[in-house]
């Protein structure tokens, strides 16, 4: 080696063009892309989980002889997946050619819109899912473990109060419980969303807040 590394370093940087700073523009484009992709992935995983759970419940319901419950729960869940997929196609209408700030704002607005729509959906969906699901549990008869519906087998021969052949007290309790979920759909759904998407939503909000500061 002819020159020392010190002289290579010094002489190399004597040329002005060696140190031209790149232009600072679209500062958050990569971050925006990453967070949108992450949310998209999480959304897809969430929908797949719901669909898989619905399928498994349907299989279970056939085995447990509560097909009506299986069809009810799985049907509602598949409908939810369908609605969610339809909502996600609206994202394609967001103008991706706009700058990162406006794109993220539009994305955040879409999330808020979806949130309000889901609250309306869950106001009915929570009680129906819980009601149909738990009612199904009352009548499940998974052979060879139970020879008669579970509700008649508690403590080896329990006989519930029947009205028109139905254990009305049990059913009343279940549907009352389900109704509570409908009444408190907003906070429950909020908690649900926070558990799944909380950190990512916070990041998105943080980026938008940062960008708003940058724009000042």
């Amino acid at each position: 080696m002819e020159k020392s590394i010190e002289s290579i370093w010094k002489e190399g940087f004597l040329r002005d063009e060696a140190l031209v700073a790149p232009k600072i523009n679209n500062l958050y484009s990569q971050k925006s892309q990453q967070i949108i992709e992450k949310l998209g992935r999480m959304y897809k995983i969430n929908l797949w989980s719901i669909a898989i759970f619905a399928g498994l419940y349907l299989i279970f319901s056939i085995w447990a002889q509560i097909v009506w419950s299986g069809i009810g729960v799985a049907g509602l869940l598949y409908w939810l997946v369908y609605i969610s997929m339809k909502m996600s196609t609206e994202l394609e209408n967001l103008d991706q050619s706009q700058d990162s700030y406006h794109y993220l704002k539009a994305y955040d607005d879409w999330i808020q819109l979806c949130f309000e729509r889901y609250i309306k959906i869950y106001r009915f969906l929570y009680p129906l899912l819980i009601g149909i699901g738990l009612s199904g549990m009352l009548f499940m008869q998974p052979r060879p473990f139970y020879e008669q519906p579970w509700v008649y087998s508690i403590n080896g021969g329990y006989e519930p109060y029947l009205f028109m052949g139905l254990p009305v007290i049990w059913l009343g309790a279940i549907w009352g419980y389900a109704l509570i979920f409908g009444i408190f759909a907003r906070p429950i759904y909020k908690l649900d969303v926070k558990l799944i998407y909380g950190r990512t939503f916070d990041k998105l909000k943080g980026i938008i807040a940062d960008m708003e500061k940058l724009r000042k």
């Binding site: 080696m1 290579i8 190399g12 040329r15 060696a18 140190l19 700073a21 790149p22 600072i24 000042k216």
Partner: protein, 160 residues
């Protein structure tokens, strides 16, 4: 980031950021991302600067930390894709061929050694280097000698 802040507090020190970012990236796209991220972090943490060290020292420290963090993040991505594009001449490499060779050699060093040699080449004192990296100044001299030896070997083609 206000244009004023960039012009007055970052641009005069852009050379530092460029030199560091170049040492930790292999392509122009990554270099620009690293540069932008460093600028962003400087702007974000401007209020944390308490004047205990020089602004330039603060920028060195922050640039190195950001580059090391990004490097770690990108390494994780590399498990998925092992493709690392080479820095080509038309993609923003330095015009001086010897400098390009030196950078290539520096990129073969470990992350910490890269930081040490960059600071050494920027004529920072051992005390400053130790302070920026957070190590003991007594070991810096020996470390630099070893790194220089290794760099010479790489440049002479004795080490791959």
């Amino acid at each position: 980031m206000s244009s004023d802040f960039y012009q007055s507090s970052i641009l005069p020190y852009a050379a530092i950021i460029i030199k560091i970012c170049r040492a930790y990236t292999n392509c122009q796209e990554d270099f620009e991302d690293y540069y932008q991220e460093v600028c962003l972090q400087i702007w974000r943490s401007r209020e944390r600067f308490q004047g205990q060290s020089e602004w330039s020292t603060y920028i060195y420290r922050l640039s190195l930390n950001v580059c090391l963090t990004l490097l770690k993040r990108n390494k994780r991505k590399q498990f998925v894709s092992d493709y690392i594009p080479e820095l080509s001449e038309d993609s923003g490499a330095f015009a001086d061929e010897s400098l390009n060779e030196l950078y290539k050699a520096i990129r073969q060093l470990s992350e910490v050694d890269r930081a040490v040699i960059l600071l050494y080449l920027e004529e920072k004192s051992y005390q400053d280097i130790a302070e920026i990296i957070g190590t003991n100044p007594n070991n810096i001299g020996v470390r630099i000698s070893r790194i220089k030896e290794r760099l010479k070997k790489i440049l002479d083609g004795k080490v791959n």
